[in-house]
């Protein structure tokens, strides 16, 4: 058994692969942070990761042998699905149910579209095979497994030359024997294919979701495995430690070698890393409830952190595209029911194109100019105005160059584009047009925030906002204002927060199983034994003894007759006395009332599933101090802050100009990683960790819009 902390003096380094850049971050011996951005290498991502790490190590005057651990998040699993480049995957299922995967849940993500086409099944019909067997919902065998039908399927699979097989039988969550036997037969006859059994991946009720998740696991398995193998080789060849850790979609990290058993768990690891970084920042800054807001070039993402804890999504789909009402409009992607942080996304980023519809209304995105042709002001071919162009016209952005001088800009091109598309046809002033774009982006993004707050019965005004990503600091205050949020935190290194997040994550994994029993009737031994076996399972996954991990016991509860569950902590499950059952029921009633506004004291409560999470504290602990750089001299420029203030001569300052205490806006903080806007009625200061804390006036949202226009 490996002791994970025995290499303490060595340094930890993290690499996060993004669409354009791979971000690398390192905690130095003096507990300060060093970061590096290098180009991603899509033809062989592992190369870019290894090179980026080596580059940072070299710049820092270190040797590869100084690095003790590598933390990593990648897009390999996501891309396999989005680009349909996963393994050739076969499916074995119960006779009569070959098409469960393809029928899906019927709903489509777009209303009023007769020409809609469903995404193709990840395991095509010609590779889906039925075997004779049947269980009932309690796991009783109605039809024994006919092994000859399994062998027939295996022969066909062999002939199809697939790389991976998924096995998902009806009601297998209640009895794993048939799936296990099929797994053994596949192993015997097809030793080289990647196999996923639904009882290992997601032993929960609902056949489409379980099948889809298992198929995704097989579909991404071979590419993830080959990527991890190649990264391991690259790291080793570079003299770096070949043992590395991966983030999973629920925000924990696991040994990369255990990822291979359940590769579907890393599909959303990149965005998860950002949220973990945001949580670390927020806890250090003294907040326990916050909205993590991540705005990049194409999309904006929001996630909720409540009482210091992450919120999980229970209805996640991968590859569903960006939909304004994604919480209602399901069916566009592939259901993946593994623990995923609830992150909602809208197609509004710096590169989002500004346009007008047929009735003349202003619209933003979801089309993005991306980095090429880019916003009009880049002058490299983009002619359509983008959100960045509007911000340029307003004076929010540096009129000479962005990204610390790396991207030269021509503000006149922004003005031309925005005049042509918005100001002239709408007969409004150019500043007003640009501010309108800025305001509208905020409104579109409120949907992303609302779907993780008000849509779940939470009031955004009870939360602070952590802003990160390239455009987070530019739009966060407007967004906060639209939501009634009164504090915005912009951490140092906001542009590479996902990489930093990898350094603050704990080792963590979880496992669950279906139960479906009434809390007041369930056999306490069943609950305890189930928790016990889940505990052993997660500890084994982390290669730990039971007493070497922190265990979190949880269950999903619902009122009998409901179809949606709420998770509630369930330590009582280890010793479920009648009093404990009453207590847990009360907790569930309270959670239900908080979310839906009512409780049903007379209705029986059911335990739908049990879940155990094992955690090993691994994070960097306290965040590093913000490293002061040479101060740049304060300048000013004219900035338009909306019709209430008009154009204001605004101070352009460095982050540590805020260290002397509260500074009244307007001011703009310009840094290599991004820009932070502080409007005239807000104040900003720097906390001890170097976070910019912007405070909005509480009364502002009630009064400022009353000015007639």
């Amino acid at each position: 058994m490996t002791q994970l902390n025995d290499e303490q003096p060595k340094l930890r380094i993290a690499a996060d692969i993004g669409g354009t850049f791979t971000d690398v971050a390192l905690i130095r011996g003096d507990l300060t942070i060093a970061t590096r951005k290098v180009s991603s290498t899509p033809e062989d991502y592992a190369r870019g990761v290894a090179e980026g790490i080596l580059e940072l190590v070299e710049v820092e005057g270190l040797a590869p042998s100084d690095i003790g651990e590598v933390m990593h998040a990648c897009t390999v699993a996501t891309n396999a699905i989005l680009e349909n480049k996963g393994a050739r995957t076969a499916l074995i299922t119960t006779e009569g149910f070959r098409d469960v995967l393809e029928m899906r849940r019927i709903r489509v993500p777009r209303l009023y579209d007769p020409l809609y086409e469903k995404p193709p099944a990840l395991s095509p019909r010609k590779w889906r095979f039925e075997v004779a067997e049947r269980l009932d919902f309690q796991g009783n065998v109605l039809t024994p497994l006919d092994e000859s039908s399994v062998l027939t399927a295996i022969d066909a699979i062999k002939a199809a030359e697939v790389d991976a097989v998924a096995v998902c039988l009806l009601h297998s969550y209640a009895n794993s024997e048939h799936e296990r036997r099929i797994g053994a037969l596949i192993k015997e006859h097809l030793p080289n294919v990647f196999v996923s059994l639904s009882v290992d991946v997601l032993p929960e009720i609902r056949e489409y979701e379980r099948t889809s998740t298992t198929v995704i696991n097989s579909f991404v398995g071979p590419p993830v495995k080959s990527y991890l193998d190649s990264l391991r080789e690259r790291l080793e060849a570079a003299g770096l430690p070949p043992k590395f850790f991966m983030m999973h979609s629920a925000g924990g990290i696991v040994d990369s070698r255990t990822v291979v058993a359940k590769p579907a768990q890393i599909v959303e690891c990149g965005p998860a890393a950002g949220v973990i970084g945001a949580r670390a920042v927020m806890l250090e800054a003294g907040f326990s409830d916050a909205i993590a807001f991540d705005m990049g070039g194409t999309t904006a993402k929001a996630s909720l952190i409540e009482g210091g804890a992450l919120v999980r999504a229970d209805d996640y789909e991968v590859g569903g595209g960006i939909s304004l009402s994604s919480k209602l409009a399901k069916g566009g992607g592939y259901a993946l029911k593994l623990p995923v942080i609830d992150i909602s996304e809208v197609g509004a980023g710096g590169g989002s194109i500004v346009w007008r519809d047929r009735a003349g209304a202003l619209k933003i995105g979801p089309h993005s100019a991306g980095a090429n042709p880019g916003p009009a002001c880049y002058g490299i071919g983009g002619t359509e105005p983008t959100v960045t162009d509007a911000n340029m016209v307003l004076g929010f952005l540096n009129p000479e160059a962005l990204a610390g001088g790396a991207v030269p800009v021509t503000p006149a091109l922004s003005r031309d584009a925005l005049s042509r598309v918005v100001a002239e046809p709408m007969e409004i002033d150019l500043d007003r047009a640009a501010y309108g774009v800025h305001e509208l982006v905020s409104t579109v993004m409120t949907r992303a925030v609302k779907s993780v707050t008000t849509f779940r019965g939470r009031d955004p005004r009870d939360f602070a906002m952590i802003a990160f990503g390239g455009n987070g600091g530019i739009h966060s205050v407007s967004l906060a204002r639209a939501l009634g949020v009164s504090k915005v935190i912009v951490p140092p290194g906001a542009g590479v927060l996902s990489a930093l997040g990898l350094l603050y994550a704990d080792i963590e994994t979880s496992a669950s199983l279906a139960l479906l029993k009434r809390i007041d009737q369930v056999d306490p031994d069943l609950v305890r034994n189930s928790f016990q076996s889940l505990s052993e399972q997660v500890a084994t996954e982390l290669s730990r003894e039971l007493d070497g991990v922190e265990l979190v016991f949880e269950a999903d509860f619902r009122y009998r007759g409901q179809a949606f569950e709420l998770p509630v902590p369930f330590d009582d499950g280890l010793n479920l006395t009648p009093e404990a059952a009453t207590r847990i029921r009360g907790l569930f009633d309270a959670a239900h009332e908080r979310t839906y506004g009512y409780l049903l004291a007379e209705t029986p409560v059911e335990i739908v599933s049990l879940r155990v999470t094992a955690r090993v504290q691994k994070g960097a602990g306290s965040l590093p101090e913000y490293l002061r750089r040479d101060q740049t001299p304060e300048t000013t420029r004219s900035v338009y802050f909306g019709p209430d203030w008009g154009r204001v001569e605004t101070a352009i300052i460095d982050r540590h100009a805020l260290s002397t205490g509260d500074r009244q806006g307007p001011c703009i903080i310009e840094e290599y990683e991004g820009t932070t806007i502080v409007p005239p009625d807000c104040t900003a200061h720097l906390d001890a960790k170097g976070n910019i804390i912007v405070t909005l006036p509480v009364a502002a949202q009630a009064t400022r819009h009353e000015a007639a226009e």
Binding site: R107, Y116, P124, K327, R432, F564
Partner: protein, 558 residues
Amino acid sequence: MSKIDPIRLEVMKNAFDAIADEMALMLMRAAYSPIVRDSMDYSTAICDAFGQTLAQGVTTPMHLGSFYDAMQHLMERYAGNIHAGDVFIGNDPYAAAGQHLPDIYIVEPIFHGDTLVAWTTTLAHHADVGGIVPGSNALGAEEIYQEGLRLPFLKLYDRGVINSAIWEIIGLNVRVPGMVHGDLRAQLAASRAGQRSFGELISRYGIEEVLACAEELHDYAERLGRAEIRDLPNGTYHFTDHMDGLGTSPEPIVIQIALTIHDETISVDLAGSSPQVKGGVNTPLPFTKASVYTALRSVMQSEIPNCHGFERVVTVTAPKGTVVNSVHPAPCGARGITGYRIIDAMFGAFAQALPDRVTADGMGGSTVPTFAGVHEDQAFVFTETVMGTWGASAGHDGQVGVPHMGANQANVPIEMIEATYPLRIRRYGIVPDTGGAGRTRGGNSFIREYEYIGEEEGVMSLRSDKRDFLPHGLFEGGEGTGPISILIQNGQETELPVLVTEPYTIRKGDVFRHISPSGGGFGPAKDRAPEQVREDVEAGLLTESYARVTYPHAFQGK
């Protein structure tokens, strides 16, 4: 009216939409019945003070625009008697301008100070509202009195105080009171969420601005609608569609559409449709209008707000006393099927004007089996909407495993059905050698087979269609196949009528097998690419022997 800042308008439109969606999500998550929580047969909306929809949650298209008439009815009835804290409840198609009895409205005024400024409205299909059959979709009902509990708009809450009598009357008149009360609570929770969010909107932007934007939003939607219609070719396009008819000796029911595009407006006249029938498939005019709006929106290309302004560019007329504008006491429990047929007929008419924006005919809406009885000492009613298959379009084959355009509903997970009801699903999947032939093929049929495993006798009934009038193809594409619905009892197979007017008694071991209709094809079969035919055979969607007969050109020299 004042000139509204167009940007502020867009901001407010997004805010209204977000509230309607928030209500929809709240309702779904708190709901009890499979038809609400899984099929999502419900709608939420924010209406202005005049009862005009400002935003409608993205759930059931066929409810689009359905709130307006009900709201007019309510406001007339309670003029001068609407107060903060009132919550209205109603369902009657004739006494409350409702849809059919299972659809219960919960409507609550929003006050700003003493002024009524808006409404939160929800509408949910309840699992049962009494009447002669479980599930309250009595196809055999001859009068609405047989269909269940009728509620004009009543105050469920009067200035914040619940009228328990209504609650109790509902509980006593329905077969599954826990489920109905649970879903009503979910509606109340959604309404409360909408109230809160709308209040926040007022405190952020001020009441004048919110109301001014609300008014302008209708004009904006109207402008957008007019701009779309201007691009459509002028003319009158006719289409006649049929429902097979009721019971064991069905008489065809005609749906006739005359669609006139004239510059910037559209008028739809349903004259020539059958007189109302003694069976629950009559639709009151509000539902007919909602169905027409749905079809119209589906061929338009802009993102038009789901608000009342859009409806101003459309006129819908239908003679009174017909199946598409029924009058009291015509029963209308299963009127959904008629709504689907109105949408299909609209697409049939649009195909003549806009062949690239519609598909050939599909399954024609959901098949709805209902199973009911007593299980483990409790009454149960299980109804699900089984969908769906589309016809082919110019660009691609008909889709399988999709909802009808009128109702974006989900299936119920088989494992959930079996864990809850005395039913076992024996088979669910695609049926080969179905789907109309064509350059692009109609979607295949699928099968769903149920075994009743309850110890006590139960009943089942069925709503389906398209056995006599098959899904049509377009531009020489072949017809789809019709549905097969068989009840197997003691080895005896009985083919059920498409619209079952008298429920069947079922016993343990009885099997109900449903094979859905399949979609029509698009373009001549001889133009289908040979490699596509081979792929269909490889995937098992067509057998080789069928493909050789239907697409011989794909096998030349083989």
